[in-house]
């Protein structure tokens, strides 16, 4: 067993253990943090497959942004665990069937003739000046440009929808509106009255 195999087993053990922890620990904050650990170890595994762009992008996007917001929300919620546990056994058979179907699907993909060990050998080690990022960018912007642009448009639509769904104008909110403030002219606010001066009695 060489050094890389040992690293692989260390990373996979941590990954499996933390993934199990995500669904078993009681504290939701712990489970969010364990998910972060799972992402980071997964990035380590990808690095060993020489997919350095994907590995770092995983850390940058999921650990650096998505999970921060996740953790944020989990910390603010006051989660009642007993209510979450209600009906666990009622839904258990349903969940077990879905889990079995998923395991069967994944093993069909991995063992089958498209992604089996023979079809997907370990990637050949590349030279030091080989840039994974450059190759990925070249493929995305030449061969797969339509699929890539389509995915981008999809994300944009999702973003606009999310904003549109949550954007509400509250009428009862009292806050200064700078654009209204600078548009105010003195004629709108002040009325100059010329009064004849009165004599003191």
């Amino acid at each position: 067993m060489n050094f890389q195999d040992i690293l692989f087993y260390i990373f996979s053990t941590i990954l499996v253990a933390s993934a199990l922890g995500v669904i078993t620990v009681r504290n939701p904050v712990y489970s969010a943090l364990l998910l972060v650990l799972a992402f980071v170890t997964c990035a380590g595994l990808w690095l060993m497959l020489e997919a350095e762009f994907l590995a770092i992008a995983l850390v940058l996007v999921y650990v650096g942004a998505v999970m921060v917001l996740f953790l944020f929300v989990v910390m603010m919620l006051d989660i009642n665990l007993d209510r979450l546990r209600e009906g666990f056994w009622k839904w258990f058979p349903f969940g077990a069937v879905i889990a079995l179907i998923m395991v069967a699907e994944i093993s069909m993909v991995l063992v089958g003739k498209y992604f089996g060990l023979e079809e997907m050998p370990t990637p050949r080690p590349q030279d030091a000046d080989y840039s994974n990022t450059r190759e990925l960018g070249r493929l995305i912007y030449t061969e797969y440009v339509y699929a890539f642009e389509l995915a981008a448009v999809l994300l944009l639509v999702a973003m606009v929808t999310a904003i549109a769904l949550t954007l509400r104008h509250r009428e009862d909110k009292r806050s200064p509106n700078p654009s209204k403030q600078v548009k105010v002219r003195k004629e709108d606010r002040i009325r100059m009255v010329s009064m004849p001066s009165e004599k003191k009695e």
Binding site: F3, V29, E52, V59, V68, M75, S131
Partner: protein, 365 residues
Amino acid sequence: MENIQQQFVEIFGIEWGSMLFSLASNVTFIFAIVIPLLLGVAYLTFAERKIIAYMQIRVGPNRVTFFGIPWLRGWGQPIADAVKAIMKEIIIPTGANKLLFILAPVLTIMPALAAWAVIPFSPELVLADINAGLLYILAMTSMGIYGIIIAGWASNSKYAFLGAMRSAAQVVSYELAMGFALVCVLMMSRSLNLGDIVNGQQGNSLLNWYLIPLFPMFLVYLISGIAETNRAPFDVAEGESEIVAGFHVDYSGMAFTVFFLAEYSNMILVATLTSIMFLGGWLPPVDMEPFTWIPGFIWLLLKIAFILFFFLWFRATFPRYRYDQIMRLGWKVFIPITLIWIVLLGLIMQLPESIRNSFPLNIWF
């Protein structure tokens, strides 16, 4: 070096020997980076106190001498501070989550130190010369926020939690502008490797540095960097007039000091990255005789010190931003500027070479 490697190979065999040798040499290199960095942090706090004192017509720390040398009055202050911090008790509040309370400072200092792995100090002097260096830096700096959020939550204190929430929102929003500014840099240099980015700025003089063609990006990066490190005038995360000390209000002793170390090493990191990406890294300002005598490492240090002086100067000069103004600056000013600059830069780079060469005084594209 080769002799030591030979000895390792003889003792542990060919495969494990070279592996262990690279491990040992890397650990040595890591210590050679981290120990000067921590000393730099210690003396940055001293510089901050002295510089701000002089700006406010005070004297600053001048009591603790350095090994009794009379004309180094005050130079022992950081060491005295460190000793005091180590001696103090770490108090864990009753309602706090103990595990996360202890883990939070560790999670803060880890990315602050890990990001230094890819920094090139001179053409040869770099710990990990990886292709995706810039991405690695972005990933590491984006992980720094966990320590702050966890500290705020684990303290079980309203002030700490408010500080953590402010900090998280601020860091996430300024990260975008920072990332886009860096996209411009990598468009110019056509590489994610920090050494290649510095080499791309090589030329006759400082006019070749990316500072000139990317000047708005330089400003965006520097200001976002200040916001990322939660420094004044963007220090609402610890705004002492509103929420006592923000996320580290319940921390004491060494646990607090680790947060402090992380903040200052992040400051030095941002200054270093600004020097590497916009101020030509280890390159001398003019490629001529008297300037090239000075080694590149010294030039890099001078540039870092120059940027750090700005950090301290800003703190002494500007009042604190209001929170909604910070968000407005990040989302409505910086991100549009960077997006427009990226499109502009892309258009210029896609122009036919004959048109680009006809620009007057063009040395960059």
